[in-house]
Symmetry: C2
Subunit: 161 residues, 2 copies
């Protein structure tokens, strides 16, 4: 799979401890396909959203968290749920606030913090985006996998905390 594996015999002779760190060929293939599949599918879905004149998926994630929470969230909580860096959340919220999809309000319990809530327009946008997003997931992932979706989810679950 990889040029370095030509050194296997040599390395396992000299550094058996290091060799235990070498990934198996299956692991390397799975890695490559994980990276590639995510990029291809995400790109395709993003392109569908853009073609429909809708905002990028990052916006959907924020809207969905806020809709599901049914209560305003602090940026800090969004940060954790969305796995985004703090400064990144800050500016994503800037843009979404500018678009009128969310609103920031001071947080009573802590003068440093805000709470973020979804506006009616944001709720509408979340639904409009799902009308494109859901079918796109089905077409790009659900359909090709069929009954394989469950097993795939299970395997991927072992990679996540």
């Amino acid at each position: 799979m990889h040029p370095v594996v030509n050194l296997d015999a040599f390395a396992s002779f000299c550094y058996p401890a290091i060799m235990s760190e070498e990934p198996t060929e299956e692991a390397v293939t799975a890695w490559a396909r994980l990276i590639r599949a995510q990029r291809v599918l995400l790109g395709a879905v993003e392109a569908e959203l853009k073609a429909a004149g809708l905002p990028p998926l990052g916006w959907y994630d924020v809207l969905l968290e806020l809709v599901r929470a049914e209560t305003p969230l602090r940026p800090l909580e969004l940060e954790g749920r969305l796995l985004l860096a703090q400064h990144n959340v800050s500016r994503l919220l800037d843009r979404m606030e500018g678009a009128g999809l969310i609103a920031r309000a001071p947080y009573a319990g802590d003068g440093r913090g805000h709470v973020v809530s979804v506006t009616p327009s944001g709720r509408a946008m979340q639904r409009r985006m799902w009308e494109v997003y859901g079918p796109a997931i089905q077409r790009h992932l659900g359909a090709p996998l069929g009954e394989g979706a469950g097993p795939l989810a299970a395997l991927l679950g072992r990679l996540l905390p």
Copy 2:
């Protein structure tokens, strides 16, 4: 899984054709975990490379393609293999050329094109990066999956062309 599924009964009554486009719950879970797992693992591996003072993974991909090809490649070929946009390849090569890892030369057969080759320094960098990259793959994907790596690769393969 998703708020919109509460509308299932209504929608399947009104718009059976539309409902066939709704993803199954398993598909949505697999989708979410695919996006998330890729982000988490790639982030972790990139962080290890950075901590070792090495360039980002995109550079490794270019170096590996050039090393494996054993012959200079045209930017157009890299574009296809790496699934990158043309302008993106152009600038990635700018940076790598600036770092002395690759070299561009005119392409005899077509005055518009170049060929890109890996320099000795680029070969060395590819090997140094693999020393971090390989074990990182094993630690973040190979170890948690064990024998599951093969099945995961097979399922992901169904998502790719």
